[in-house]
Structures are given as structure tokens and as C-alpha cells.
Symmetry: C2
Amino acid sequence: MRRTDRSGAADAFYDVLERRRDVRAEFTGEPVDDDVLRRILSAAHAAPSVGMSQPWDFVLVRDDDTKTRFQRHVRERRDRFASTLDPERATTFSRIKIEGILESTLSVVVTYDANRGAPAVLGRHTIADTGLYSVCLAIQNLWLAATAEGLGVGWVSFFEEPYLRELLAIPQRVRPIAWLCLGPVARLQEMPDLERHGWRSRLPLESVVHHERYSCPTDE
Amino acid sequence: MRRTDRSGAADAFYDVLERRRDVRAEFTGEPVDDDVLRRILSAAHAAPSVGMSQPWDFVLVRDDDTKTRFQRHVRERRDRFASTLDPERATTFSRIKIEGILESTLSVVVTYDANRGAPAVLGRHTIADTGLYSVCLAIQNLWLAATAEGLGVGWVSFFEEPYLRELLAIPQRVRPIAWLCLGPVARLQEMPDLERHGWRSRLPLESVVHHERYSCPTDE
């Protein structure tokens, strides 16, 4: 049997994992050192990918005009979502900040290029979306690396893909996946914002673990 | 300016990130302690998710008959892919082991349930796939946690989703995302299998990083 005690290295890893937050309000706007940024991007680039296709790209956005235009677009999409909610949920939602685009030091836009390594991408012939999955693995590496470096990351998803494609001159074949705000933070919250503001709660682990076959979860 | 030196905690994190491999041949089949497995699943469950929807489930598969049937399905899909390759690529591919289903201790099948937290999933109204993205972030957490614990993980993607859905009695609304082999390993390779066998090479970081706007990458 393997030992059950966590090693020091495992402890350090779990600490990063538990400190990671989706940051909106805590960005300070202070500079990010070039070496730190390079380590974070290298971490993303070291992710596994289907057929080793490495289908990701990273667009670093620091330009104020670009950020301001994107932030305006996101605010419109936020208002649209708010208008679909019942009054109680709308009140809860009104307290939740959904982006720190202007306050964060820079943004990293992560994209997916299905042509990378094509046509014979090993392992993608059965499931086309595995290329998308690879990009997400890179994003999580980036997120954790930034946390390990003491920085914060906030994933903004209130946007329309065609708008972002045009804003950053992204080719039609390439799909924008995430707009990530990145930079130093005053602190990392201990509890996710959505939990703190009563939007959703953490599900018990037991409700999402099944044995041998999928059974109906009891949580909802 | 932030310091450029890596802290001890960051070093330990990057070490896990760099040791992580997509394992096929190195599984030993030794037992995995229940506490270790629980920590790894808890790491996955601690991932960020759109609107805190936590849309993932984990089916732990240890049954030999289930694993044998899935392995047979994967072998067929492997043969089908091989038949599409030109002779040179087919020779390279013939040397590559694509799964360790029977050799690994257990498998973790990760699924996506779009109904979790619906209908008003905060942040998913603009991009339906953000739910899928969340599941992938959980998978990368699982993968890194297993690596930190000294175990190996191998993502098998040569399968048809309807086949796996039927094999594990997964409901129609739920999408199987990944079959992950998990367990102790004799060692972790230093270089990814696909690179070692000459299928693909690591791209330079510079070729996937852009500034302010997307420009055509020079790598391909």
C-alpha cells in the first residue's frame, strides 16, 4: 500500500490549489515582472495536449483602449444576463463583480487553433472537442502557476466570441476561449465570490463520485 | 516590481508541473490508498467552474470486465486511425502505446452534466461550452494532484462517446469527457511519449505568444 501521509512537496502543491481564486475585486494594477510572466506562460505551454498538438495561443493585452472596449462589451452582456433573472436572483447577482479588466495589470487571451498539427491529430479523430479540452488544461496550468507566483487570475466569460475575434484580429479558424485578467492582488479571498455572495454552494464530494457505473446524483 | 526569484513553494509547484506525464506503459497496478484517492478527487472538485456550477462527475472503474470491454473498443478505434495514416506516419504510430487501461490500478471517467446549476448558469449564457471548459480544469487539477502524490495518469481519448455512455449507464444528458487511467508507476518519463517517438515536437514558447493582437504564428 502507498503511504497516506502527504509529502512536503504534495503539501506545497495542495496549498497552491486551495489558494487559487477567480479574482475580480482584488487586483492592484502593479507591474508583473517579465521573468514571472514567462514562467507562467511556460507553465501553460507545458500542458498536455491531444496528439501533442499544442493548439493554444496567448495574446497579451495591455492596451487601455482595447481593455476599455472589451469591458464595455462585457458590461452589456452582464446587463442582458441580469434581465433574465427572477427578482431574488437579480438582487444576489447585483452584488457580484464579474470582471477586473481595467484594474488588473494585463490580460491574457487564450485561443484554440484546430489546424495545429492537423490533419492527423493523434487521438482527436473520435472526439473533435479534445482540442478544446487541451486548451483548458493549459489555462488551468497558467492559473495555478500565477497563484504559486503570488498573483491573481480572473476568467471573464461574459463575452461573444465574434466580438473578441474582431477586437484582437483573431483569424476565423481560431476560436477565442478565455479572457484572463492577471496581476498582483491585495489578497486572495478564502471563499469563492459566488459562494460568499450566496449564489451557489460547494457540493459535497460524495455527490459527484460514482462507483463502476454512473448513478443519479442525490444533490439536485 | 515583483521579485523574479522563484519561492520555495513555487519551486515545488513547478516541479509537479514538469514531472506530470501522460502515462501509458509505466503503470504497476499496485493499490492506491483510499486517502490518497480522496485527496486527488477533492483536488479535482476544488477546480473553478462557470457560475460555480461544478458540472463534473467522477466514475471510478475497477471492474475487470468493464475495463476489458473498453480496452477492446479503444483498440478498434486505434486500428481505424492507423489505417488513415500514410506509411511513414503509420510506422511511427505503430511504436506508440496509447493506453494503459488494464495495467493501471483503476480508471476515473469524468463526465459533464449541463443541467447542474441550470437554467441560469452565471457566465454560460454567452458561451455554452464554458461548462465543458470547467470539467477540463477539474481534470488538470486531478492530473497534477496525482503527480504530486507520486502516481501517474493517462488520458485515453480513442473512444466514441455513445459507446462509453452505454458501458457505464451514463444518462443521455450527461457527456463523457475523459477516461483517465490512474495508479502507481514504475517511473515517469522525462520526455512525453509522442516527442520521444518522433510524432511531434514541443513548439517554442515564442511561436504561441502574441502582443496586443493575434498575428500569424511562424511555427507552421
